[in-house]
């Protein structure tokens, strides 16, 4: 098997060390390791992290291959430093059967850029009425453990309760897209001062918070684990904090864009800023950062949502919701969390690799950078600053809100089980 020596890398932001990869495994971590028989990558003080794990990705295949495929999406993931992504179930057909989740799983394995762990739908067709065959998806080759109707909320309290209970039998978790549907009919953006002025339908914070409050109480009642997708408001943070203090088994994620952007950007009426849940206020952004730092929010997940150009090159109301995020996530986290002093690189590894892997039970991912562990690694040039140019994206779609924005950090290398998927910023 081939050997690679990463020389002088700051593992999790610590003192420079050498890391030797042999085959698919980290062979040794130390100083002055022998380069004999190994290809050498001079890290020169770059930060080495465990391969990132995204618990919330839309790969669009099957059904919307015009916006992304498993191949283009996993290439984007590798570019962004990811070695595992969880693919959301809102494909066409919906990933609500063993057949669909196995297809997505196999495509990821075949392409080899990034492990793809399918998420199964909670209900048939994401319609919120009838439980999908959760057990069959778990027992399939894809081994699904995370279930979500993402894009839609499991709003029926009884269906949610049953799902929370049912997946306990095989250690699954339900990831809730918290959005009370009646309160968000016609919703186009965060409800507040800006929506009042722009005349766009409001998406009130309470529509998210009320569902989270209900679901943590349901999880407590039935003794289940619940995961909250893309938490976006200061009030949601307070509820999750309260739930954790009560010992409720809840985890939560935040997207990079909710850590950086606010609804003031909607004044441009440019649908590149249209996303669900919507961009909120400065106060929410600050509360989310603080919650990610103190652990109330467990992880960063991208909600990478590719859309073709025509679905964004139109009037706001007609535009699709969502942003691509895999290739900019780490930079945004560096900008909002590391460069602000809220989180160190070990903290980033925790929020973007260790914990998401644990929540999603991604075997072999989110492991420490130490001898004997799988060589899923990413090397980051944290001193870099550059302007985001979507033309260089590996994703098939370009709907990034960061075009032209200067952001820090650049992933230069990614290894998936010892095989380089990204070398010097170029996909292999």
């Amino acid at each position: 098997m081939s050997k690679t020596l990463i020389r002088g890398a700051r593992v999790l932001g610590g003192e420079p060390q050498d890391v030797l990869i042999d085959g698919g495994t980290v062979e040794a971590v130390g100083t002055d390791l022998s380069a004999e028989g190994a290809e050498v990558v001079e890290a020169g003080g770059k930060v080495l992290l465990p391969g990132l794990v995204d618990l919330h990705t839309h790969l669009r295949e099957p059904g919307r291959e015009d916006s992304e495929t498993v191949l283009t999406g996993t290439r984007a993931a590798a570019s962004g430093g990811y070695t595992a992504v969880f693919a959301m179930a809102n494909t066409f057909p919906v990933a609500d059967t063993a057949g669909v989740v196995e297809q997505v799983y196999r495509l990821g394995r075949e392409h080899g850029y990034c492990d793809v762990q399918p998420i199964g739908a909670v209900t048939v067709g994401l319609e919120g009425r009838k439980l999908a065959e959760l057990g069959a998806m778990h027992d399939s080759a894809a081994g699904v453990t995370v279930f979500s109707d993402d894009g839609k909320c499991v709003d029926d309290a009884v269906i949610m309760r049953r799902a929370l209970e049912y997946v306990k039998a095989f250690g699954g978790v339900v990831a809730q897209h918290a959005q009370e549907p009646r309160l968000t009919e016609g919703a186009q953006m965060n409800e507040g001062v800006v929506s009042a002025e722009l005349g766009l339908g409001g998406w009130p914070a309470v529509a998210e918070e009320s569902i989270i409050a209900r679901d943590v109480l349901l999880a407590e009642h039935v003794g289940s684990r619940v995961h909250i997708c893309h938490l976006s408001t200061a009030g949601s943070v307070e509820i999750v904090r309260w739930a954790k203090s009560r010992g409720i088994d809840v985890t939560a994620e935040v997207t990079p864009h909710h850590l950086l952007l606010t609804d003031e950007l909607v004044r441009s009426y440019d649908p590149v800023y249209k996303v669900n849940p919507p961009l909120r206020t400065e106060r929410d952004v600050m509360a989310l950062r603080e919650a990610l730092a103190d652990g109330t929010i467990d992880i960063v997940a991208t909600d990478h949502a590719p859309h073709p150009h025509e679905d964004k090159d139109c009037e706001w109301a007609a535009a699709a919701m969502g942003m691509v995020g895999l290739e900019t996530a780490l930079s945004v986290v560096q900008e909002t969390m590391v460069d602000t002093g809220l989180l160190d690189w070990a903290g980033v590894a925790d929020r973007m690799s260790f914990k998401p892997a644990r929540i999603g039970q991604a075997t072999g991912h989110g492991r420490p950078v130490s001898a004997g562990e799988p060589a899923n690694l990413t090397l980051v040039d944290t001193a870099y600053r550059g302007t985001v140019d979507p033309a260089g994206f590996a994703s098939r779609s370009r709907n990034t809100p960061y075009e032209g924005r200067e952001l820090p950090g650049r992933v230069t290398h990614t290894w998936l089980r010892g095989k380089a998927t990204l070398v010097d910023g170029k996909l292999t």
Binding site: A196, E197, L200, G202, E310, E315, W316, A317
Partner: protein, 331 residues
């Protein structure tokens, strides 16, 4: 405000006063036997209406024709999406036919702004109402009507509406007229009060430059003008208020309420009126109601806006479009 008219909030006080003064000049044309100016001869204006609005479309059309523009009416009912063609393609198709200005009415808030700022077309864009966002020519014609009635047709020239107390009553939540009026009236120095049931006021309206009240009777004696907004009966079914009758009792303007207004105060309505809902026939048909005058003034205001954006020698607004075929003003 640049070379487009997208939002009443983009107008400075001087922009707005110039438009009102110009509209007075235009109004004199309407008093002539031949109601026509050659100002926009050879210029093409398209009225691009994605929503039905016969009265606004006809008002713009009358204004365009009185300025001798070539007029194209394009009615694209329903959204661009349901039609299958995008707003971008529709606009570019029209521009390819040589259009100098696009007057757009669209159900989506922000559609005119997108049209003006996305690089899709070069033509000047005039917002004729977008979703629940803005309807700037409506606000201008309302301000014009108020200035005439409350300040005076001749004495009003060069003046704003400083100190005038304007009350806007009704479905503010779904109203682009209310938003445009709050912006423009504030710019013109008026004191605005919005009156509505709390359900029909947007969350966030507290940040607007106006007062908010839930009590119409308390506000009426302190109003120089009371603008009644249309309330669609369907709102009842979405629980914005319990019944039509309850709405009328609490927020409708009838003769008794009108009697509580100061003697010279006027009643305004942007139309179409729902008689018996927000306004009784007695009030609508009284001499204090300016609804019909507003329609007439709408043509003058739209002439003024088109003239200043496309043809004026002394533009109210900077015009970045460099056209060498600008026709000279002949009056």
């Amino acid at each position: 405000m640049q070379r487009h008219l997208i939002s009443a909030a983009d107008l400075t006080r001087d922009d707005a006063v110039l438009i009102l003064d110009t509209a007075e000049e235009m109004a004199r044309v309407a008093d002539r036997p031949i109601k026509k100016l050659p100002t926009l001869r050879g210029r093409t204006v398209v009225n691009l209406f994605f929503e039905d609005s016969t009265r606004t479309r006809i008002s713009f059309e009358a204004a365009e024709k009185r300025l001798s523009a070539d007029v194209i009416n394009f009615s694209a009912k329903g959204s661009s999406v349901s039609k299958g063609e995008s707003l971008k393609d529709t606009a570019q198709t029209l521009e390819a036919m040589g259009v100098d200005a696009v007057v757009i009415r669209h159900g989506a808030s922000g559609a005119p702004y997108r049209l003006a700022t996305s690089g899709w077309i070069d033509a000047a864009v005039i917002n004729a109402g977008d979703g629940t966002h803005q309807h700037p020519t409506q606000a201008l014609l309302d301000a014009f009507t108020m200035r005439r009635r409350l300040v005076g047709r001749d004495t009003g020239l060069g003046q704003d509406l400083a100190g005038k107390r304007i009350t806007i009553v009704g479905d503010v939540l779904h109203s682009r007229v209310a938003r445009s009026n709050v912006d423009l009236l504030h710019t013109l120095g008026a004191e605005v009060t919005l009156v509505a049931p709390p359900t029909l006021l947007p969350v966030g309206a507290s940040a607007w430059p106006c007062e908010i009240s839930y009590d119409l009777d308390a506000v009426l004696p302190k109003s120089d003008a009371v603008m009644m907004l249309r309330v669609q009966r369907e709102r009842m079914n979405a629980a914005f208020f319990p019944t039509e009758r309850e709405y009328s009792r609490r927020y409708g303007l009838d003769g008794d309420r009108m009697a509580r207004m100061p003697e010279d105060a006027i009643v305004m309505h942007p139309g179409p009126m729902v008689r018996g809902m927000e306004i009784t026939a007695e009030v609508a048909d009284s001499g204090r109601c300016t609804a019909i005058e507003q329609v007439a003034n709408g043509v003058s205001i739209r002439m003024a806006v088109l003239y200043l954006l496309l043809g004026g020698n002394e533009p109210a607004v900077t015009q970045s479009r460099t056209t060498d075929s600008r026709t000279t003003e002949e009056k």
